[in-house]
Assembly symmetry: none
Homo-oligomer: 172 residues x 2
């Protein structure tokens, strides 16, 4: 057993959570950044100290410096006295998933190399094109049918990384 597996096991036993939450714990800053986007989208945030406090209420401990780095990484802007989310208009223009994300209904894995997406009928190909155009280096290949897409990755960590990314994109 690798030492890295132990926190995983402890987390499992204390919280009784499922695999999805354990993955979220491994990628702490990923979860925190998602929370930041949500907080800013839902309320007015005027400065980083305020954001630090709101994050703490949601279980994230981070200092102003980490938050500054997060905001920079996320492309969040400050207009006058409040933070605003990255412009969705420009993002949508370059975001291949903007109009096809809604077609994805489920994400599963098969073994350690295959990720399976279920879509609404007849839309798999469009979603697959968006995935292909993203050129993720973890992805070895994709194949799509009518409502199902298979995405092959090499190592287990690649599959895990891909799954987290897809969850973020499709909100599943």
């Amino acid at each position: 057993m690798h030492p890295g597996v132990r926190p995983l096991s402890r987390s499992h036993s204390v919280r009784g959570v499922q695999t999805g939450d354990m993955a979220a714990e491994i990628h702490q800053s990923v979860a925190r950044r998602a929370a930041i986007l949500r907080i800013i989208g839902e309320s007015t945030v005027r400065n980083q100290d305020e954001l630090v406090k709101v994050l703490r209420k949601q279980g994230f401990d981070a200092t102003q410096s980490s938050v500054s780095r997060d905001l920079r990484e996320l492309g969040v802007a400050k207009a006058g006295d409040r933070y605003i989310l990255p412009a969705q208009d420009a993002g949508a223009a370059n975001n291949p998933f903007a109009a096809v994300a809604k077609f994805v209904v489920d994400i599963k894995t098969a073994g350690s190399s295959l990720t399976v997406l279920k879509t609404t009928t007849g839309t798999a190909q469009s979603v697959a094109v968006a995935i292909d155009s993203s050129d993720w280096h973890e992805v070895v290949g994709t194949i799509s049918g009518d409502d199902t897409i298979f995405i092959a990755t090499d190592e287990p960590k690649d599959q895990k990384k891909l799954r987290e990314r897809l969850r973020g994109i499709f909100g599943i």
Copy 2:
């Protein structure tokens, strides 16, 4: 004569300027704010001191504090290391065609009621969903296969109108 008029007269006699420039002089901050928007739109501005310098080169004398107030008033945002203009186009965020337009390869008509779209393989359904979501009142109904979409309209003028609109959207 009011004492306040004297500097104006002196300015006129010394510079030989015209009414336009006198108006610009009266509304100094209005012109400066327009210049700020132009500068930010044309180049990368990283901090307010830099903007003060560029403004000075264009004939505007203002300190960092005035510029800060201008930017606040103009709704200019700072994202990471640069200033960005206020979002001009929120409409694109709601554009259902943003990511599927590229799938359409041809537009034809059949008779006076049918418009036929050809798409890349497997993507017709996604494009049809975007068309349905637009709720154009000229459209009676749509049906899609793998790479073909039929759009029914009632009168010839409706078909013509639809075709022009689709040409505009898909650039064909």
